[in-house]
Amino acid sequence: MKSKALKPEEHFITEEPYYQPIGDEIRVFESAYKQQLPVLLKGPTGCGKTRFMEHMAWRLKRPLITVSCHDDLTASDLVGRFLITSGETTWIDGPLASAVRHGAICYLDEIVEARKDTTVVIHPLADDRRILPMEKVGELLEATPEFCLAISYNPGYQSVMKDLKQSTRQRFVALEFDYPGANLEAEIVMKEAAIDAATATQLVKFAHMTRDLKGSGLDEGASTRLLVHAAKLMHDDISPVVACQTAIAQAITDDHDMLVAMNELSSSLF
């Protein structure tokens, strides 16, 4: 089987990505999109921010361009740069510019990880001007009404050094995400991994146990994503304790005592 190569701006999501709304986030996002307001998603890792974006891209029938930010991400990585082809320089749009040009949804994941200068290039796009200045080519790129900017960040985990600046955050409609309530989370795990309700409930219980350990040995509890991973392994006949150990415990910590303790917790549950 051959994998397809597609340009990001031509990639439309055709099948509905499974998303279980927690509150009225879908309506708020749709409204913000209609009013051409940029959106900020806050929440811990693996609680469904990216899935929500995919779901919204499918709903709004726009291509979704996701950029995972890292600490070496520069402004030109987003806007574009000159490349050399056969002795000539050619301008190549970065993901942000190409999203603006094609009216796509641009989703900057973990925005605070990017360098400070990067966050500033999105400012003119994120207010009522909705333009992207491209200094190197001396152009101003005006966004079409279909274009939408969304960014995400995890308020719980970054250091103070990497906080989102007020000047940036005050341009966005902010949606807060958290792990869903116990019953809802069990339902999600069931649906995603096709396991039975009782196992899903026990898995969610395990997740709550790890979340209770946050601050007393763990930096972060198990996310919904990890639960789905474990559930998928269990669906494929891996024993629950092994699944919890490999997909959840090992994924959140390296501390030996903590791993043993989590193993004891999962073996208590199943």
Binding site: F82, I84, S159, A182, K205, M209, S216, G217, A261, M262
Partner: protein, 701 residues
């Protein structure tokens, strides 16, 4: 070449010296007699231990010497050493008499040693058991060693060694089962009934019956654990194996059974028909429970109501900002817990003026603790505290650190640290009592005067440090980058024309060097710094703070001093998170010489502070004026060796230590403590302020 065996007289001479026979009048002939029959290697081993124990207590060492040969016959050398060190440890913690009983009761020690060999030791397992019990949700419980197995609703007491099974894994599982059982007592409401009025035989019955109920709860919630508990019990008689318990078990195992069900059954089940005990059930101590609960219930009610009033204020303030709502007393409600299931107790929802509010983490913990006690939040808890209703400063902290100096000694709120005894080659456990104190700010002109005095120096310092700031560097010839490197391109183009391969390194890239330094300055506040040394130290701190602000390095400043191991005081001048403001300046200005310098404990404490910050470079800089020295035995080699050991511990945690001293003799001991390159001796005190900034620059570039 084997060395000759020591004769009796040689051994007596050695022991006489170790045991200070002129003062202690012990008779060394008896132990020397037995030791003289051993081979040389064993003689050395025993004499070495005698010397190490003698450093703790002479009488203890003498008793050890008397028993050592017998001990060596029944245990290997490692265990004999353990035996001696346990005794020394008991001496530290409990005094001479208990220590002597360890030495005298050798058989007992040998027995426990065997138990320890295949048993589980609580101290070793606590790293796993503690997160385990915290993970089980509910109140954050503590685990402690004790003779009896029970819980007071805040701490679960477990035996220090578990050796019921011959297999270590099984012993650990038994610990786990005990922890889970007592957790279940707290979690599933055993103590919601008043148990203090039960007579003794009633209590025994209650204990057995309640265990059946709790087992059923555990089976529902933690089936895996329940299986493990059953399999542990299966090695012994099953208390429920008779048919006559069927009905009893059925009633108690029902989902709707509560502690009241158990109490109702008490009168119906005669004592002799009561099921036996489970191996993990331990006992119930209603008095201990009642005492702990009474205290906690009062405290938590106060804390909760104060928290509500704080939340209420915040919420009203927020509403006022947005322009509506008149001021009313804060009213909270509990929203119906329809989504409630047994998964998380803290899923309770708090409602304020019709809308849901998310309580902060500490309030959530409080809520789950209250629910564990009452099964719900009692309505009177939901009334926010009025102004001044509770004085939290009083109920929170009944004793202030300053009381120590006013004649009422206590260790409340203090932290305990080990200390290294080089003679014993062993740590004294929980030896030093450390408190963090605050330096009272004194708002005077000291900082301004210093800045004026060094204004010219400061200017050049600022310049130098500006350079050190993470500066943008343009990297050329990069494979990826923001812009095209024309020079590189021309070169490459020429290469291609001449038939060579084209390089892909034709871009320029801006690169920012980011400093990620966290530094703690420890300032000697011992009495010997009085006068110009103290002044120089303060001036140095002022200049340092100025340049560190430019660099934006994270830094903290602590002063240290104390008297004896019971009063080690670390004076907080600036913590990592404090901004350098007028208050900090005023504190620097008020750094006063105090007492002595017991360095090791402070280094160990600072290591804890460091573990809370993330930085690629962690630096501990000590400003000192002499050797570590304290009122008691902490002087000379002892102090140096403990400090050296503490610095080892720091290095193990990735902390670089550096010492700046004005002690001219420091070259004799500092290389030993800090390492040859990790210290500077400053001959001229007045040069200290100038030098310190300079040294810091060198260290971090």
């Amino acid at each position: 070449m084997t060395r000759p065996t020591l004769g009796k007289q040689q051994i007596i001479a050695f022991m006489d010296e170790c045991l200070e026979v002129e003062f202690s009048f012990v008779k060394n002939e008896i132990p020397a007699e037995s030791v003289s029959c051993l081979p040389r290697q064993q003689q050395d081993f025993i004499l070495n231990l005698v010397k190490r124990v003698a450093d703790t207590n002479i009488e203890l060492a003498y008793q050890f010497a008397c028993g050592a040969v017998y001990a060596l016959e029944s245990m290997d050398q490692r265990m004999v050493e353990e035996w001696a060190m346990t005794a020394a440890d008991y001496y530290d913690r409990k005094g001479l008499f208990p220590a002597m009983s360890v030495i005298r009761d050798l058989d007992n020690f040998i027995n426990t040693a065997h138990e320890r060999a295949h048993g589980s030791v609580l101290e070793d397992e606590i790293g796993v058991l503690l997160p385990f019990v915290r993970g089980l949700s509910g109140r954050k419980l503590k685990l402690e060693a004790a003779e009896d197995i029970y819980t007071d609703t805040e701490t679960i007491f477990l035996p220090p060694v578990m050796a019921l099974f011959s297999d270590e894994k099984q012993n650990f599982l038994l610990y786990k089962a005990m922890v889970a059982h007592h957790w279940a007592q707290i979690q599933f409401g055993t103590f919601r009934a008043n148990l203090t009025q039960l007579a003794e035989d009633q209590l025994v019955k209650f204990c057995s019956l309640e265990t059946i109920r709790l087992d059923a709860c555990i089976q529902r919630d933690l089936p895996g654990l329940h299986r493990q508990m059953r399999s542990l019990q299966s090695h012994f008689d099953d208390p429920l194996n008779s048919d006559r318990y069927e009905e009893l078990a059925g009633t108690l195992s029902a989902t709707e059974a509560t502690v009241q069900t158990t109490i109702d059954l008490l009168d119906r089940v005669p004592y002799e028909q009561c099921p036996g005990t489970f191996i993990y059930q331990g006992s119930i101590k209603p008095q201990a429970v009642a005492a702990t609960m009474a205290k906690r219930v009062f405290r938590e009610k106060a804390l909760f109501r104060v928290a509500l009033s704080e939340m209420g204020e915040e919420l009203t303030a927020a509403n006022e900002d947005s322009g509506h709502v008149e001021r009313k007393p804060a009213k909270f409600k509990i929203r119906d817990r329809t989504d409630q299931d047994s998964i998380g107790n803290a899923t309770i929802q708090l409602e304020f003026e019709g809308s849901l509010v998310a309580p902060p983490q500490h309030v959530k913990e409080l809520i789950s603790s209250i629910i564990v006690d009452f099964g719900d939040i009692p309505p009177e808890y939901l009334v926010a505290a009025g102004p001044g209703e509770y004085d939290m400063t009083v109920s929170d902290r009944t004793m202030s650190p300053n009381d120590v100096w006013k004649g009422t000694y206590h260790e409340e709120g203090a932290q305990l640290y080990n200390e290294w005894n080089y003679k014993r080659q062993h740590y004294h456990k929980n030896w030093c009592v450390l408190r963090e104190m605050e330096v009272e700010p004194v708002y005077d002109s000291f900082v301004d005067d210093t800045l004026a005095k060094y204004s010219r120096l400061l200017k050049s310092l600022r310049n130098t440090f500006e350079y050190m700031r993470g500066e943008d560097k343009l990297l050329k010839k990069q494979p990826h980058g923001d812009d095209i490197d024309i020079d590189a391109l021309v070169e490459t183009y020429a290469d291609v024309k001449s038939g060579m391969e084209m390089s892909n390194r034709v871009f320029t890239k801006m690169h920012k060097e980011e400093r990620n330094v966290a530094v703690i300055f420890m300032v000697d506040m011992s009495g010997s710094t009085k006068g110009w040394i103290n002044k120089a130290e303060r001036e140095s701190l002022v200049l340092l703070a100025e340049v560190l602000e430019i660099l934006q390095d994270r830094y903290a400043i602590y002063g240290f001093s104390g008297m004896t191991r019971k009063r080690c005081e670390l004076f907080k001048i600036k913590a990592f998170d404090d901004p350098y403001d007028a208050e900090i300046k005023a504190r620097i200005s008020n750094i006063q010489p105090q007492d002595y310098t017991r360095m090791g404990v402070f280094i160990r404490h600072v290591i804890r502070h460091f573990s809370e910050v993330e930085a690629s470079t962690k630096l501990l800089i000590t400003l000192s004026d002499g050797k570590p020295d304290d009122y008691d035995t902490y002087r000379g080699e002892y102090g140096v060796e403990d400090t050296r050991q503490a610095l080892f511990e720091a290095r193990r945690d990735g902390i670089h230590s550096f010492c700046i001293t004005i002690d001219e003799e420091a070259r004799d001991y500092l290389p030993h403590m800090y390492g040859a390159a990790n210290y500077t001796v400053i001959d001229n005190v007045t040069a200290l302020p100038v030098k310190v900034s300079d040294i810091y620059r060198r260290l971090t570039t």
